[in-house]
Every structure is written in structure tokens, then in C-alpha cells.
């Protein structure tokens, strides 16, 4: 499988709840459809909540992979803008 290239990366490791969610939401809003956002995260609750929120807002979650002890990398493809 071809390695996906991220347009933008945000490192949310160590941030308190819900900063990772809010930053992800803001980053997705600032990007163009088709671009890929990479979120590095170490907070289990947000790892489950970010994909659910992103999908609901019309983006596509490409991948959630474990990259270390309690560290994950989430790749989200920006969907068509709502409104």
C-alpha cells in the first residue's frame, strides 16, 4: 500500500482534554478539500472521539495507526465543505 502523504501535521501529544479535538477541528476547517491532515495523539478518549467527529462533519478517516506506547497517528482527508 502506498504511503499517504500528509498536507499538514499537528502534534497533540500531551495536550489536555479536549485540546486535541478542538485543534483538529480548527485545522480541518482551515484546509482545502482533498488535503490530508495528520494528527499525532496520545490521549485515548480523543483517539476515539476525533474520528467520530470528523466523519460526522463530512471528512474521511483514512487511517488510525499505533506509532508507539499509547501514541497514535490519525490521517484524515478533508471532505467537501459544509455551508
Amino acid at each position: 500500500m502506498e504511503e499517504l502523504k500528509a498536507t499538514k501535521t499537528i502534534d497533540e501529544r500531551g495536550e489536555v482534554c479536549p485540546v486535541p479535538d478542538v485543534d483538529t477541528k480548527r485545522a480541518l476547517k482551515s484546509m482545502k478539500p482533498g488535503e490530508i491532515l495528520e494528527v499525532l495523539i496520545d490521549y485515548p478518549l480523543s483517539k476515539e472521539r476525533i474520528p467520530a467527529t470528523a466523519e460526522r462533519e463530512g471528512h474521511e478517516v483514512l487511517k488510525i495507526e499505533e506509532i508507539g506506547p499509547s501514541e497514535w497517528r490519525i490521517l484524515i482527508k478533508v471532505g467537501g465543505k459544509k455551508e
Partner: protein
Amino acid sequence: MEIILGIITGVAFGVILQRGRVCFNSAFRDLKLLKDNFLFKAIMFAIALEIVAFLFMAQMGWVHLNPKPFNIIGNIVGPFIFGIGMVLAGGCASGTTYRVGEGNTTSWLALLFYGLTAWATKKGMFSPILKAVSKYTTKVSSISSLYLADDKGKIGPTLATLLHINPWIIGIIVFAIIVAYLFLTKTTKRPDSKLSWQMIGILLIPVAMFGFWTSTLSGRPYPLGITGGWINVFMGYATKVKLNWEGAEVLGIVIGAFITALIYKEFKFRVPRRGVTYLQVTIGGICMGFGAVLGGGCNIGHFFSGIPQLALSSIVAGIFFILGNWFMSSILYGGSK
């Protein structure tokens, strides 16, 4: 014996909090900020089931319902400040406690100031404020043998005492209203969650029941709590006060969350990149400690343990936890829609 029972309760509670990611701070905030009701529904389902479970336990004579007295100032101002505090601290009383076991260093600091300030509000520097507010405390005459009345036959007001009806009748009515809301409205999906919201709600019930029963046996006739437990732990550390059931319970939560996080490879020493985050959680912890004691309880003592008893104090406190949370989260995280 009470220590062992407290620890068993806490460990079981910690495991479920960690696995279910049960954080009241997230539950309240997600409702407004993300329009996400997943966690809120999990908690409300647990509360609906607790209403019936607690009434049943009281009917069997295993425990007595023990609603907290109502205080018009304390139950409004305290929870509002607590609600602000939990947003700054990045977790409520139970959320902060279980994340200590997950290795979140921000939660360690928040907890330190939460416990310390709770103690200061109860017995130290801020206790004159608590004393000034306590003159607004109201109790009413008990109407049922299911309640634990004080030596004057008084209890904290509940929906049952306000309406002068049998606690079972109003209990079943509120249960039905909550269940109707839960199953007739749309629930936000969270496909990556390990547990469904219904499962989180159900799993919490045996812990709440076992906790209420063993706590009562240990001479503390109340269901689960957090704030009093941390005050006990801190006093035990700094003075020579003996560890009690509630202190053992909060330590158990940390142990339970730590073990579960280790097993599921979710334990990590998490350190924020920006140092100012530590300042933010410190202020949050102070607000939580002050607010919880002024308000007569935290999100567990009031929301999780008091609302199922239909205590007026806890229902009012619950509303102001949510309002404080919404107020602060819209300041910090608003404008991200």
C-alpha cells in the same frame, strides 16, 4: 476491613472509568461544543438505573437514602465554579482521578491543587466562607423510612418530599422520563469506543451498589464520592488522620485505572508541550476543590450519587456543573465550529 472494601470498590470503578472513558467534563462539554451526546447518555443511563437500584437497596434495608441538605447559595455558586474548574483542569473529579493512573502529569498537578484546596475550604483558610454560606442550609421532615433522618427527623429535600409522594412513585416517573430521552432521541455514534453507551451505563451499576452498601457498612452512609476521599488522603499524608473507606476508594480508582491502562497499552507519562498548560490545570484544580466543598459535592457525590436519590441539592448542583462547564468551554474552545 473498610479499607479493603473501599479499595475493591475503587479498583472496579477505576477499571470502568478508564475503559469507558467516563469523564463528566467531556460528557457535558461535548453536548454543546461537539453536539455529541455519547458520554452524556452513558452517564444518564447509569443514573436512571441507579434510581431504581438505590430504592431497591433501601427497601431491602441494606442502606438508607441520604440526600444532601439543600443550600441555595452553595448549590449554585459552588458547582458553577467547579464546572469552570473542570474545563481548565481538563477533567472532572473522577476524570482527573482516573487519568492520574493513566500517567497524565497535568492531572497529577490538577489533583494536587484540587485535594489541597478542598481541604483548605473544609478546614483551613477558606472555611469561613463555607461557614458563612452554611446558614442557608435547609432540611425538611422525612416522609419515608427509606431515608436516613438526623436526630431531629430531618433530611435533605428531595423531589419526593417536595411533592409529598412515595419516593418509589417519583423515582419510577423520573426513570421513565430519562429512559424515554435515551432511547427515543438520536445518539451520536462513536464506532471506535470499546464499549457502547448502554454497556458503560450498565457496568457502573454493580460498582455504585457495592460502593453504597460497603460505604454504609463502614459508617459512611452515602454512595460513591471523590472529594471527601482526596481530603482524607491528603490529611492522612500531612497529619495522622486514618485512611477511611472513601480515601481507600479514590486510591483504588487510581490503581484500577493504572492496571487497565497498562494492560491495554494506554499508560504513558504525558507531558504537555506548552508549560503554561500546567498553570491552567493548577487554577482548574483550585476552582474544583473550592467549588466541590462549597457546593457540597463534586460530579460524583452530587451528579452520580445524589441525583439518583432525587435530592434537590444534587439536581440544582448538576444544572450548575453543566452551566459552569459550558461557560468556560465556550470561552476556551468556542468559535471552532
